[in-house]
Amino acid sequence: MPQTEKAQTENSSRDQILQWIRAGLRAAVKVEEPAAVSDRLIFEPVNNPIERFQQECVANLMECARTADSAASARQLAEALQPLPEGEIFVQDDPSLRQLVELAELGRTIRWSTQGAPAEASQATVTLAEALIAQTGSILVTASCGGRGASVIAPCHIVYAKIAQLVPDLTTALSRASQGQTFDHDSFACVISGSSRTADIEKILVQGAHGPRRLVVILQTGT
Amino acid sequence: MQRKVSLFVPCFVDQLLPQVAVDTVRVLRRIGYEVEFPEDQTCCGQPAFNTGYWDEARPCAERFVKVFKHADVVVCPSGSCVTMVRTFYPDLLAKSSLREDALAVASRTFEFSEFLVKVAAVTQVGATFPHAVTYHASCHGLRELHLRNEPLQLLRQVKGLKLIEMTRSEECCGFGGTFAAKFADISAAMGTSKAENIAATEAEYVTAIDPSCLLHLQGILGKRNAAARTIYLASILAQEDPPQKSPPQERP
């Protein structure tokens, strides 16, 4: 039996609700139809994506380090991990990250994403991203970037990205995800715009809630 | 030929705050308008309408339309009453035989400050009021009639007047018609917050374009023995140099 039919037979209210919805929609609604509003009117266009991305990172309490090449990126990675206590690092299993980790000579236990989810006690995770978004200082990750936990379980998340991945705004990032049919091959994606935080006590901002306290972007401009 | 306006006096102004209407007439005459007052008028229907009794409000609204049908221009010293006519009569009288007349009357009905600035195109009315004044932005005038600048433009032209901005001038004073009786505790708490903001300006007077707000605030301020007194906008504009009489005593 096809999935949708199976769902129908196990869910007796489904048809009833659809019936109610259709009956409700038949009610005449007084609607003035104003001209559709163009997205370009809403946000100031981003003319200087690199500067904008870096500004937004600062505002989002993220760290963004620009590097010229892999060697410099490897040094940044080592520097970012250096102050962290002893413990496992989880890394997305990708050739560029394998190379980076080797260059960095970390001397830590590495758990690769192909071995499974990050351990609860991981000190940091290192992943790639699908894209960087200048408008909001965001990184877009998917399940292909080491899984879901990779960007949230450890207190420090490090993203290794290339400048070509930077897009100006949310519209571009989302339409690319649509066109690329991201969700045909990834069950999950996330637009991350800073370290985790809360203001639930007296509206006072606390950086580092359940997710990472530190989000570091290593932005490599060269090869 | 002198220009003429018809005066629409809110029922509570007629009965409790007649000076509001007297001063409105004075200012209109001073800027060159003849004022007629259709004595047949009673109420626009707002109290019943706001409480949900649209069937009781409807005949009042129809009567109002008939009373003012032949007026060239209708001026009213109350943002909430003008809102009733302009914003709500179209819906309330949607099925009435007087619907077209209602839309016509609505298009010719103006709040006092709105009339001065947008129709008469006047901001300088020759007023003198050498006192510190703060402005409360009454909700209907602000959000339904979109009158934000007009009252301030008029106040800025008053000789000697020191205009002080209060914190949260656009927050509701808490009157809300029957709300003041049905939810008296909340209404009073909101009024008290407004009174505190008024006191913080150290202004001698608080003014607005809605005398219902001022009636409520007068009560709250009076109970607190506050220094500030309420005064309706036209009552400020009616003051000339030399003063015709001492500033209005708004307490019984």
Binding site: D39, A117, A143, V152, T171, S178, F188, V191 | I220
Partner: protein, 471 residues
């Protein structure tokens, strides 16, 4: 008067007089106001943004069946389950039965107002399942055994000292400080154990994206991320009205939701989930269930005047600006949804007879409508609810009679003038006899908090007639 109305009046009286409460809320709202202004400044044309959001939601709601079916098809094709629940009971039963069948002992929950609406927590607890609220504010109010105070910031009515004391009492560990960062770290440690041991994670959804077939969740803390990544079953509980047509729509909805909700340009995490983990993915739940809750929403569709109430994106901006909310607080409403949206919505979801008083507990100032990012005409809907209440015969007969008398007077100017004259002179007598505030004082409600109204010697019309006769 319904018991809900009586309770509301009592609680409102207490809270209106509570100056400490007022100060805490005022401080919180001042903080929000400042952040919100900054957030608004990041958007070039705020009115265009509002209009765009209104258009998106209008399109979604006006074709609700089509978009829900599109969403369902995609989720099911990826191995997810979609359950349509007519009401709270069906939704709770589905989730409870699922949990029981899968031997779920512990649930971690991220914030979802719909789960409050359907009373999911108690239903699961009754089945012997431990439910952890993991949103920091929800975690706090869960320990206090009360509902959320605000739909976005559930614990904004509490000071840090109270929270520290609460943790000391309820968490069985020594609390060394009331510093917010310290308290968050305590909660993090406690909840981390729950995240890594729970068999089921339950979340809400801010949006259901039809063309991509994904749910979208906007959060800041990371608890929602952990709830939807680690446990082997993920259940989404959502109202049917949360659907939007396209993934691209999030480009404006996300920033607008964040700006209106907290003043941020965008929330820290904009999570998109389309199904259970796929083969080859490092982690993720094995099962994905979306529970679509109707619970009265399809009825609101049929209301030609008020269908747009379903556009609400639950940002909380109307609560923040509402002067009534600021003076009585979220708990006074006694409903799942407080504030202006709650007052408009609750009579539709829970019955007009019991909850009409909420539509009257407003001065109709219109501030809510002016800030609503999807341009719902909230305060006019309150007026319509009042009309609906009188037409349903839900108001007091004494009041109906009073307005009938009022109408008679207003249609007869001489009766009106006489009535006014009688009122002024009877009040004059009451004042003269020193009976202000007594049972004989018709204005005693007014006079409880205000100085008596002025009593002019004559009405304006009398004076006008006199002046005219003199000339």
């Amino acid at each position: 008067m319904s018991t809900a109305a009586q309770r509301f009046l009592q609680d409102a009286a207490v809270k209106s007089a509570d100056l400490m409460h007022r100060e805490i809320i005022q401080r919180g709202m001042d903080s929000y106001d400042a952040a919100h202004l900054k957030g608004r400044a990041r958007i070039k044309d705020w009115e265009a943004a509002r209009q765009k959001c209104q258009e998106i939601k209008r399109e979604a709601i006006n074709h609700l069946d089509r978009y829900l079916l599109q969403f369902e098809e995609k989720v099911v094709a990826r191995g997810g389950h979609v359950f349509w629940a007519a009401n709270s009971e069906e939704a709770c039963a589905y989730i409870k039965n699922l949990a029981t069948r899968r031997n779920v002992r512990t649930v971690v929950k991220s914030k979802s107002m719909v789960t409050e609406e359907i009373h999911l927590g108690p239903a699961l607890e009754k089945a012997g399942i431990k439910v952890w609220e993991t949103d920091f504010g929800e975690f706090i109010v869960q320990l206090r055994e009360e509902g959320p105070y605000h739909i976005v910031t559930p614990a904004m009515h509490l000071l840090r000292g109270q929270i520290a004391t609460l943790f000391q009492e309820k968490l069985g560990q020594k609390i060394e400080s009331d510093d917010p960062a310290y308290l968050m770290a305590v909660a993090r440690r406690v909840l981390r154990q729950a995240f890594f041991s729970a068999e089921m994670g339950i979340s809400g959804a801010n949006f259901l994206v039809a063309d991509a077939g994904v749910i979208a969740i906007s959060t800041n803390e990371g608890n929602g991320r952990l709830c939807t990544s680690i446990p082997r079953i993920h259940v989404v509980v959502t109202g049917i009205e949360k659907v939007i047509p396209r993934l691209d729509d999030l480009a404006v909805l996300w920033p607008v939701l964040a700006t209106s909700g907290t003043g941020q340009g965008i929330t820290t995490y904009g999570t998109l989930i389309g199904g259970p983990r796929r083969p080859g993915e490092a982690d993720g739940p094995e099962e994905f269930h979306v529970v679509l809750v109707d619970n009265g929403r399809s009825q609101l569709l049929a209301d030609a005047e008020q269908r747009e109430v379903l556009h609400c994106i639950r940002c909380g901006a109307c609560l923040n600006i509402c002067p009534v909310f600021r003076h009585v607080g979220g708990h006074t409403y006694g409903t799942t949804y407080p504030g202006p949206i709650g007052s408009v919505l609750t009579p539709h979801l829970n019955g007009i007879m019991e909850f009409k008083h909420l539509s009257y507990a407003s001065s109709l100032c219109g501030a809510c409508s002016s800030v609503c990012p999807v341009k719902i005409d909230l305060h006019h809907h309150l007026l319509q609810n009042r009309r609906n209440a009188t037409e349903a015969g839900a108001t007091k007969s004494s009041e109906r009679l009073m307005f009938r008398a009022w109408r008679h007077a207003m249609l007869h100017p001489r009766i009106y003038a006489l009535g006014g004259w009688l009122m002024r002179n009877s009040l004059r007598m009451v004042y003269g006899l020193g009976l202000v505030g007594s049972i004989l004082d018709p204005m005693r409600v007014w006079n409880r908090y205000r100085a008596p109204v002025p009593l002019p010697s004559e009405s304006f019309r009398a004076r006008w007639r006199k002046d005219r006769a003199a000339n």
